[in-house]
Symmetry: D3
Subunit: 241 residues, 6 copies
C-alpha cells in the first residue's frame, strides 16, 4: 500500500524551517511540513501581566489561527464571527503547554513571550508544524533577550529543553508518520505526539476518529511518533546552527 | 506513600450513578466520583440540523459547563463574560467525540441528542466523570427512543458500544488512578483515558504538566487507566440493570 | 375547582431547604418548591470592587441562571449564545434587590458576597424559590464571616431582616398561591411578592399576562402572597435552627 | 413639605405629546413628562417572523434605549460595550408587555410592529413616559394599517384598549405622583403603574429601594397611580383628537 | 435639470443650528440640514484615560449612531446585534479626526471631551451635518471649561480653528452641493469635504459609487464643497453670536 | 531632502507581485511594496447570498486583516477581542468598493467572490498594496471561472477595468509617493488614491493628519498618485502576462 505522495509509512514530508522570515518579531520562523505552511513568531515584551508582577517569573502564551483560505474551502474569520472556535482554543492551549515545557520561567525573568502561529496554507499537521516551528522562534527570542542581558540566567538555563511534534495515524490498518490532509480525513486513529529533544514525551493525544484502537496499535503509533520527533529535532538543530 | 483519602494507588473513589435525577430530560444522571458531582442530561429532539436533513443520519453533541461555585474559588460565568473559555471548549469536544464512538448514527435515524454535563461540585476528574455519566444518560435516551419506535434499528445496534473514562497521573513518581483535585494540582503527569466496555481505547490524552514522561511511565498509566475503565463499566452496567 | 396537584388555593407546594448541599461555598442551599429545584450558593470574598474601596461598605450581587434542560424543552446556553437574555437579567436584578434589603452594608464591612442561583429543575416559581433559598445561603455566609471576625458589627446587625418570596396568580378567576408551571402558563394575572419576616413588602410585581386586573383582584393576590411568605419565613427559620 | 418644582404631591409634571415628530415612521411621537423627553416610533412591516407565519397572528415588540448623554453623567453606549444591560432589557420587556395588552393580535393580522423608545433627555420616569407615548405611536400605526386595508378587523378591534403609565413613590414618608430624577433617587419606595384607559391594572411594580413598605403605603401609591394614569389617558385622547 | 426640492446645484438645504437643545451636556446642538436632524452633544469629564495621564494633553473622541427608525426602513440596533457596523465605525472616526483638527490638546489641558452625534432623522448628509453641528457643541464645551478656569490656555488657543463639512456629488453628470438621500442613492460620484473656517481642507473623501471620475469632475466637486463649507461656517458663527 | 531609503519623491518602493503563492484559492497573490507584504486571495463559491438569489447578479466582498506581529509592536487579535476595530472595517470597505468598480456583476453571473487581504508584514501602505494585489487575484479568479464556463459573459466583460492604489503624503512640506511607515507617521497630509488602468479615479481619501492642506498641495498629491497608479498598472500587467 503506498501513500498519496509516494512516501514510506515512516517518512516525514519535506520539512523546511526558514528563520527570520519576517522583520519585526524577536523570533520569526516559516515552517513547512510539505504543503503545510505556518508562520511562527515570538514577540517579547518587558514585564509580565499585572497579577504576576514581583514574582520573578516570566510568562509565555501561544495563539494559533488559520487564514480563511488556508484550506481548500474558505472558512469564516473568527474575528468576524466575534468568537474563537473550540478547535482554535484547543490547539492554542496545546502549543502553549508544549512550549512552556521548554522554558524555565525563573531563568526567563519578568519577560513575556507570545508565540503566534498563523497557518498560511494547510495540508494536515498544522498543529505539529506549529509546535516544531514555534520552538525555533522561541529559541531565537531567548537569544535576543540574552544578547540584551535581559534574562535572569544563561539562555541554556532559560531554554533547558527543545520540543518537536508530529502527527501519526492509522490508515487502512497501517500506522503512518506525518499525515497529509488527504490521509488525515481517512485515518481510523489520529495521534499527535510532542517530544523533547531527549526523546521524552511532553504530550500524547490519540483519538479513535472512526473507531477505536488497541494497545498494540497505540504502541506502533508511539514508536513512529518518537522517531519522527527525533528527526525533527535534528532539522531544528541544523536550522539554528 | 499514602493518598489524601487513604485509597490505594489503583483504587477509584466511591462512584455513584443516580439515574432519573431530574424529571424533564429523556436521560438524566447524577454521577459522583468522590466529591465530584456532575449532572448529565440527554435531550432528544426530532430531526437533525438543516444541513443534515435527508441524510438518514442522526446527530449528537455535548456541552460541558461548571457552576460558578463548583470549585473552591468562584469563577465568573461564561455567559456573563460573553464567551466560552478554551478549557470548556476542549472538554465539550472530548465528551462529544467519546460518546459519538458509541453510537451508530444511521441506526439512530434522524434524531438529535444533546448531552449536557454540568458540574455541580468539582474535586478533580470532572471530564472523566462527565463521560462516564453521559454514557448512561445516553443509553436511557436511546431506550426512550426505542420505546417510541423512533430508532431506525434496534437499540443494541444504535448504541453498539459503551464508554467510560478515568484520569490517571503520576504524583511524586507514583502512578495513581482517579486523581482528586488535591492530587491533580501536584501531578507531574496527568492523563485522561477513555475506553470502551471491551477495553479498547477511544481517546488517550497525556500531558507532562510539570515536566515530561518516558515510555515506562506512559505504560504504567495506560495499565491503570484500562483497569479503572473496566471497573467503571461494571458500575455503569449495574446502574442500568 | 381543584389544582393539578390537589392543593387548596392557599397552599404552598412541599418546600424543602437543604443547607450545606455543596462543599465549597460559604453558604450553600438546595431549595425545593415542589418540583422546582434551585441551588443557591453564597460566595464570600475579601474586599470590594475597586471603585468602592475605602467606603467601609460591603457589596452584594446575585446571578440567576437555568441549566439548559431544567425545563421541559431544552434551551440554548447563554454562554454559547454569547449573551444573557432579558429574562435572566430581570430575575438576577430582582434577587439582588431583594437580598440587599436584608443587609446593612456598613455592618458587613468591606466584604463581597455573590449569590448564585442555578435552577437545576424548573416547575414554576423559580425566582421566588431562588430568593427564599438565597436568603438562607446568605445567612450562613454571614455566620461564616462572623465566626472569622470579619464583620464590622454583629451578625444580627449585618443581616437585620429576612426575606422570602412567593408567586401568586389568578387562574380561571381564582386567586392561587405558589403556581406550578402548568398553572403559570394559564394564569390571567401573575404576581411575585417578596416580603420580610416581619410581613412588610420588599417588592411587588404584578402582570396581566393575558388581560388586566382590578383592585379587588390585586388585593386578593396580595393577601395570599403575604400569607405564603409568612409560611416560608417559618420554614427558613426551622432550616436554620 | 414641597416638591422641587413646586407641584403638589398628586400633580403630574407638564405632559406634552407631539405626534408626527419624525417623518419616516408609521407612528412617531415625542413625549415629554417635564424634562424627560422620549422619542417613540412605531415601525410597521409586512409579515411576521418565520416561526409565526401562517398563524394569522400579528407580532409586536419594543426596544428601549437611552442616548449616552440623556443623563447628567454620560453613559457608555451599549453598542460599544457589545451588550445590552439588565436595566435596558427589563424596561424593553415592560414596554412590550404593556403594549401587547392593547392589541388583538388576530385582528392585527400578519403584520409586525416594532416600538422604539429612545430617551433623548432623562429626568425620571422615562419608562412610564415611554409607555404613554408608545401607545399613541402605536395607535397611529394601527390607523396607518387600517387606511391601507391591511388589518384583519376594524382598528377599534385591533387596538381594543389604551394604556398609560406613571411612576409613584414615597419621599420622606409622603406618597407622590410622577417623580422627577431628584425625587426618584431619594425615594424610599418606587412604583411603576400601568393602567388601561378604563382604569384597570396592566402592570404594577413596586420596590422598596431603601427600605420596605406596608399595605397602607402600597394602597396610597396605587390610589395616586390610578389617578395619574387617568389624567394621562385624557392627554392621550386629546393628542389624537 | 432641477433638483427634487427645487434648489439650484450650488445651494445648501435650509440649515438650522439649535444650541442648548438638551439640558445635561456641556454642549448640545440640534443641527438640521433639510430633513436630516442630528443631535450633537459634547460631554466633558475631568482627566484623561489612564495611559495619557501626566502628559498635559487633553483627549477628544466622537461616536456616531443612528436611531433605528431614523431612516425610511427600520435598521436593527447595533446594541442588539452586539457589534458596531463598518459604516458606523468609519463615520465615528471621520468625525473624531475632523474635530481633533480644531483643538490644541495642550491648551485643552488634561480634560476629556466626547462628542456624541445621534441621527434622529436621516435624509442624506448625516455625517457632514454631524461634523458641522459637533463643532458648535465643542465650542460651547470649550467655553464651559474656560468659564470654570479648567483650560491650560485661552479658549481661542484651545479651539484654534473651526470646521464645517458638506457632501457633494455628481448626479446625471451634474455636480451638486449637499445631497439629499434621494440624490445620494443616484449619485455617480459622492464626496464628503471637511474644511476649516479659513477654507483649508481637513479631509476629502471621494468615491465613484457607480463608476469613476476624472480630474475635471473632481475639481468641480472640490469647488462646490469649498463654497458650501464657507456658507456653513457663516451659519455656525451666527449661531454662536 | 532625502527619503529614508534614498528614493526620489516620485518613486515607488520595489513592487513584487507573486501569483499562485498559495495552493488552494482560485486566485492567490503575495504583493510586496518594499517591506509591506500582503497575501491576497480570491475565493470563488457557486451562488450568491440568499437575499440575492434569482437576481442574475454576482457578489463580491473583501476582508482585510493584519497578523498580530505584522507590525513593530504586537497587536491583540481581533478574534480574541471578539470584535473588529474601526480601522479594519474602514479598510475592508475601501477594498471592497475599489474592486467592485472593476466588475460587471451581471457578467459575473450568480457567483460569489471573497477577497481576503492578510497583511503578513507591515511597513506603510498596506491598504493600497492590498488593493493592487487583490486586483490581480481577482483577475485570476475570473479566469478560473471563465475556464469552467461559469461566467454569464466574457471575462473581459466581467472584469471591465483594472484598479491599482497608492498612498501619497506631504512630509516636511514635500509631496511624496508611496510612504513607508517611518514617513507615514510623520506626514502632515496623508492620501490614498485608487485609480483605474485608464487613469480615472475610483476613490480619493485625503486627511490632514496633523494639520490642514490647501488646493495646491492637494493637486500636487493627486498628480503624484495618478503617476504611481499608472506605474502599478504596468506591474500588474506584467505579472499577468
Amino acid at each position: 500500500m503506498s501513500r498519496p505522495d509516494g512516501r514510506t509509512a515512516a517518512a516525514l514530508r519535506p520539512v523546511n524551517i526558514t528563520r527570520g522570515w519576517s522583520r519585526h518579531p524577536e523570533g520569526s520562523v516559516l515552517v513547512e511540513f510539505g504543503d503545510t505552511r505556518v508562520l511562527c513568531t515570538a514577540s517579547v515584551t518587558d514585564g509580565v501581566p499585572r497579577w504576576r508582577r514581583g514574582s520573578g517569573l516570566g510568562w509565555i502564551t501561544a495563539e494559533y489561527s488559520m487564514l480563511p483560505r488556508a484550506t481548500n474551502t474558505r472558512s469564516d474569520r473568527e474575528s468576524v464571527k466575534g468568537k474563537i472556535g473550540g478547535r482554535t482554543h484547543e490547539i492554542s492551549r496545546l502549543i502553549g503547554r508544549s512550549l512552556r515545557a521548554c522554558l524555565d520561567l525563573k531563568a526567563l525573568g519578568e519577560n513575556s513571550i507570545v508565540l503566534d502561529c498563523d497557518v498560511l496554507q494547510a495540508d494536515g499537521g498544522t498543529r505539529t508544524a506549529a509546535i516544531t516551528g514555534a520552538y525555533v522562534a522561541l529559541a531565537d527570542a531567548v537569544d535576543w533577550l540574552a544578547a540584551r542581558h535581559k534574562l535572569a540566567a544563561s539562555p541554556a538555563k532559560a531554554l533547558h529543553r527543545s520540543v518537536a511534534a508530529v502527527s501519526v495515524g492509522i490508515i487502512k490498518g497501517e500506522p503512518r508518520l506525518d499525515l497529509s490532509y488527504a490521509e488525515d480525513v481517512n485515518a481510523e486513529v489520529d495521534m499527535n505526539i510532542v517530544c523533547t529533544g531527549a526523546g521524552e514525551f511532553v504530550e500524547v493525544q490519540g483519538t479513535g476518529e472512526d473507531g477505536v484502537f488497541d494497545r498494540d496499535q497505540l504502541n506502533a503509533l508511539l514508536d513512529l511518533g518518537v522517531l519522527g520527533c527525533a528527526e525533527l529535532t535534528e532539522i531544528q538543530k541544523k536550522s539554528r546552527a
